[in-house]
């Protein structure tokens, strides 16, 4: 048995966001950097402002550390954020 203690020291004022599917196309990049935002709702607001076309997707899944996140979820520096739009191709 072993135990890991992680001490995360945040020097960060920005956040890295991974984009999937058409969100990647709209932003023109697979990864973007945001100013630090407090929660998922604020992140979405920032995204919609930067890339108005994202709003047209209507449903935009945000995952934090590989788990689906509600609008209320707080974001911390170092969180792994993913933006996953719906995909319809077949």
């Amino acid at each position: 048995m072993y135990v890991n203690y992680y001490i995360i020291v945040a020097l960060s004022t920005t956040m890295r966001v991974l984009l999937f599917g058409i969100a990647k196309d709209i932003a023109g990049a697979a990864t973007i950097t945001t100013t630090a935002v407090a929660d998922v709702a604020a992140l979405k607001e920032w995204l919609y402002e930067q890339y108005p076309a994202l709003r047209e997707l209507r449903s935009l899944m945000i995952a934090v550390n590989k788990v689906y996140a509600n609008d209320e979820q707080a974001l911390l520096p170092g969180d792994e954020i993913a933006v996953i739009p719906p995909v319809s191709g077949g």
Partner: protein
């Protein structure tokens, strides 16, 4: 003898083969995803396979729909598929549903099946499949593709989350997600479809861990696989919606081919050509007549743009420009055009000396 390799397989064997034999699976769509799903479920010995398909075979299907023959263009996909699958395994019983799925027929069609496999190619059908599966309490195996990326999941399985728990409503009418044909690498639906077939087998046979409450994303360019966890957010559905089709009316935006644009520019026609790419793209190649306004700057520049002449929007392949063209159209610009295929098409069709990327 046919299933010898599965009968010998540790963790499978005769009991699991019997479960496959007793199963009835419905596959929605016999296209890019449906073909590999059908081929492998047929080969492995599912007892009864239903197929919902009403399309005919087109030459542009054959780059990814490997079941069909070039000589079958114009013929029914449904019956060509069944003919070919029967040659592979005559022990399987096939049920043809020669129709498009609709709110009128979905519940009746789904009722006799144990698992629904969504291999459709549009949001309308995907939401209809979801809602019908929720109403009938049937699991459905989801796969979808976009360019070089795929998604796989299992929805509504033993109370697990549904498609609407992830994506409550479809993209807006007229958006490119619904309406543009953005192309696909032929092998991608092969990868995603085989994963879907695998999930079906796992559900039917009770082996392994199906992707319930999990979304698998696959980036085939970089071989990055991620699994995202989520939970059911139950929103009760009491009946299907009346209409699932999402109109593709793109407002006043008209397509403009690079050939037409070329003629316009040669003829000196007055047009406001806006290139919405990023600065590093602009460095590589540009049209001298274009105004350079990166996509995210367009909103702030609207007052400076002319509304008295036609506007054509250009990007790399015609997708970002479609977004901006729609924005301009909505903002009241008259005669807004989207340059189909973007500067990439220009480089190939008009100016072969142009740098590409």
């Amino acid at each position: 003898m046919r299933y010898d390799r599965q009968l010998k397989l540790e963790g499978f064997g005769p009991a699991k083969q019997e479960l496959l034999h007793n199963a009835a699976i419905l596959v929605i769509g016999a296209g890019g995803l449906g073909v590999p799903v059908l081929q492998y479920l047929t080969a492995m010995g599912v007892g009864k396979i239903g197929i919902v398909e009403h399309d005919t075979i087109s030459i542009t299907n054959l780059q990814r729909q490997v079941l069909y023959h070039t000589a079958e263009q114009g013929q029914s996909k449904l019956f060509s598929a069944i003919k070919r699958l029967q040659q592979l395994n005559p022990e399987v019983q096939f049920m043809p549903h020669d129709t498009w799925l609709s709110p009128e027929n979905a519940l009746d069609i789904f009722t006799p099946y144990d698992v629904i496999v969504d291999c459709s190619d549009n949001f309308g059908t995907r939401y209809l499949v979801n809602d019908a599966c929720v109403l009938l309490n049937k699991p459905f195996v989801y796969g979808a593709i976009h360019k070089y990326e795929g998604q796989v999941s299992v929805f509504n399985y033993k109370g697990s989350a549904t498609y609407r728990c992830l994506f409550p409503e479809p993209p807006a009418p007229g958006t490119m997600q619904n309406c543009s044909d953005i192309g696909v690498l032929g092998v991608l639906p092969g990868i995603i479809g085989t994963y879907q077939a695998n999930e079906v087998v796992k559900i039917i046979c009770g082996i392994g861990e199906p992707l319930a409450n999990q979304l698998l994303t696959i980036d085939t360019l970089n071989n990055i696989h991620q699994v995202f966890q989520f939970k059911p957010v139950r929103q009760p559905i009491s009946q299907l919606m009346e209409e699932y089709d999402i109109p593709c009316d793109t407002g006043g935006v008209k397509p403009l081919s690079v050939q037409e644009l070329h003629q316009w520019l040669e003829a000196g026609k007055e047009v406001q050509l806006i290139d919405v790419r990023e600065p590093d793209e602009w460095e590589i190649c540009k049209l001298p007549q274009a105004i350079f306004i990166p996509m995210r700057m367009v909103g702030g520049m609207l007052p400076q743009l002319r509304k008295d002449i036609p506007t054509a929007v250009l990007c790399h392949h015609g997708m970002r420009s479609m977004m901006i063209a729609q924005q301009l159209d909505a903002a009241g610009f008259p005669k807004v055009y989207n340059v189909t295929g973007g500067i990439h098409a220009w480089a190939y069709d008009i100016d072969e000396q142009m740098n590409t990327y």
